[in-house]
């Protein structure tokens, strides 16, 4: 699995490569070792699949959790004075506890606890689920605060106008307040997506073979760290740049109604 030695490699390649300056030749050999030998490009590819699966899964879970918590917190905070609702108060307390615990502990520690104390996954699928759930729960806490800020940024008159037409609280939220809040929270939410994508690199601690874990494997196989890790950084960078562009396009489309 270690591939081949430098000498074996030099016999395989054309003379023009052999005659290159040593530094450049070394780099080419490392690139060969990292990507071509033992079809290691497939390792990256397989790792990327896990990275994407965890990112998308955690994102969906995070947005659902975040939205629910934000709505509970907003409903609780915008309640009329002197009118109490026991269920809402309990839910609000639970949400606050969740936010405090999740935002108050490192993601790495949360992964360790989920992976080795709470869920203890035994196979690849279970590990993937564990990764998605942990990151989703983590992201949910941050999304919740982002969404809450967005909901509060919508003029209270919008809620009143909706309610005055006979729509109930949930309908007004869904049809009037949330669509407007989304516009306001999209930049922050995009930021959270980018953070989430990069945070998936931590799932290697629960033995999930994401792209970071694969790069580590390549390093331990080739005893060379330079090219695998720099390539890894470039992969994340390219993904983030693509994501940023997509968000920009999405944002512009949402802003259409603001045009005069």
């Amino acid at each position: 699995m270690n591939g081949i030695t430098m000498d074996q490699w030099l016999k395989m390649v054309p003379d023009s490569v052999v005659n290159l300056p040593e530094g450049l030749r070394n780099l080419l050999f490392q690139l060969y070792q990292t990507f071509i030998a033992a079809d290691r490009w497939k390792w990256f590819l397989n790792g990327l699949k896990i990275t994407f699966a965890v990112t998308i899964g955690a994102l969906i879970l995070g947005v659902i959790i975040g939205l629910l918590i934000a709505v509970v917190r907003t409903a609780h905070d915008s309640r009329r004075m002197g009118k109490s609702n026991i269920i809402l108060s309990i839910l609000n307390a639970v949400c606050k506890l969740y936010l405090t615990v999740i935002r108050g502990t490192p993601m790495m520690v949360q992964l360790l606890i989920m992976g080795f104390v709470i869920m203890v996954p035994k196979d690849d699928t279970a590990r993937l689920v564990c990764g998605i759930v942990t990151l989703g729960i983590n992201s949910g806490a941050y999304v919740a605060e982002i969404v809450r800020g967005g909901l509060m940024s919508v003029n209270p008159g919008q809620m009143e106008a909706g309610r005055s037409l006979g729509l109930n609280y949930a309908q007004t939220m869904r049809l009037i307040v949330i669509p407007q809040a989304i516009k306001n929270i999209l930049p922050a939410l995009g930021n959270e997506m980018i953070t989430l994508l990069k945070d998936t690199s931590l799932v290697s601690v629960i033995a999930l073979r994401d792209v970071t874990k694969q790069a580590q494997n390549i390093v331990s196989n080739t005893y060379q760290a330079y090219v695998p890790y720099v390539s890894l950084a470039i992969i994340y960078l390219v993904l983030v740049i693509i994501l940023t562009k997509l968000l920009g396009i999405f944002e512009r489309r949402l802003r259409e109604s603001d045009r005069r």
């Binding site: 009329r80 004075m81 002197g82 009118k83 003029n155 008159g157 919008q158 009143e160 106008a161 909706g162 309610r163 005055s164 037409l165 006979g166 729509l167 109930n168 309908q171 049809l175 009037i176 669509p179 407007q180 516009k183 109604s257 603001d258 045009r259 005069r260």
Partner: protein, 240 residues
């Protein structure tokens, strides 16, 4: 049509309404005036429970809407409201603004609501703005759309909360004109306003509120020509 009995409203320790009693008949155009902080907006907003009264009763079309088991959403369908700040939905076109409630509450099909929206737009004089967004319209136009939106649910009564106070002076007229037409069509209206001309011309009854209560009321001619209460005399001397 609307019966208000001993209505109280406090915000924390601050008592805004101190036991208001009022009866509004079908077809009446009631204009509420008074200095700021007198509770006139709060009174209006209590009528459709945008503010929840802390005491008293409101009977609307024979139903006690302040009772615990009342579905206020059903009641509000029969009460249109127009706000000082228009509160149009900026993410929706004018047509969608008007159609939203009738369609989502399933009182009209999409086609019916569309027809109704165009009808109402013609009525408020903006038939060509159906596909514009609120941000593309002037304040006066936005308020006229807001009136159309409130009318879309075919309410039995229209509540106006200082509908012209946020408008540039040259746009006040167009909104008052629409309200006048609405009054002529027989709509029951409760209007909180500072437009004394409108009160004089359109109202069937003018209420003067001060310090959380209605201190004087009369038909407009007498109300303006012959005020009794010293606070009203003082108020009118400042605004007229």
């Amino acid at each position: 049509m609307i019966d208000v009995k001993n209505l109280h409203k406090s915000f924390g320790n601050h008592e805004v309404l101190k036991g208001v009693n009022e009866h509004i008949e079908k077809g009446e155009k009631v204009v509420v005036i008074g200095p700021s902080g007198s509770g006139k907006s709060t009174f209006l907003r209590c009528l459709n429970l945008l503010e929840e009264p802390t005491g008293g009763e409101i009977i609307f079309e024979g139903q006690n809407i302040t009772a615990k088991d009342t579905d206020i959403n059903l009641v509000r369908r029969r009460m249109g409201m127009v706000f000082q700040q228009f509160n149009l939905f900026p993410h929706l076109t004018v047509r969608e603004n008007i159609k939203l409630a009738p369609v989502k509450l399933k009182v009209m099909t999409d086609e019916e609501a569309d027809k109704r929206a165009l009808e109402l737009l013609a009525r408020v004089g903006l038939p060509d703005k159906a596909d514009s967004y609120p941000a593309q319209l002037s304040g006066g136009q936005q308020q006229r759309i807001a009136i159309a939106r409130a009318l879309a649910m075919n309410p039995d009564v229209m509540l106006f909360d200082e509908p012209t106070s946020a408008l540039d002076p040259e746009m006040v007229g167009e909104v008052l004109e629409i309200m006048k037409e609405l009054a002529d069509d027989g709509m029951t209206m409760v209007v909180v306003t500072h437009e004394m001309g409108f009160a004089r011309e359109v109202a069937t009854r003018v209420l003067f509120m001060d310090g959380g209560n209605i201190v004087e009321q009369n038909e407009p001619k007498e109300f303006f020509a012959n005020p009794q209460h010293p606070r009203l005399k003082d108020f009118l001397s400042k605004v007229l």
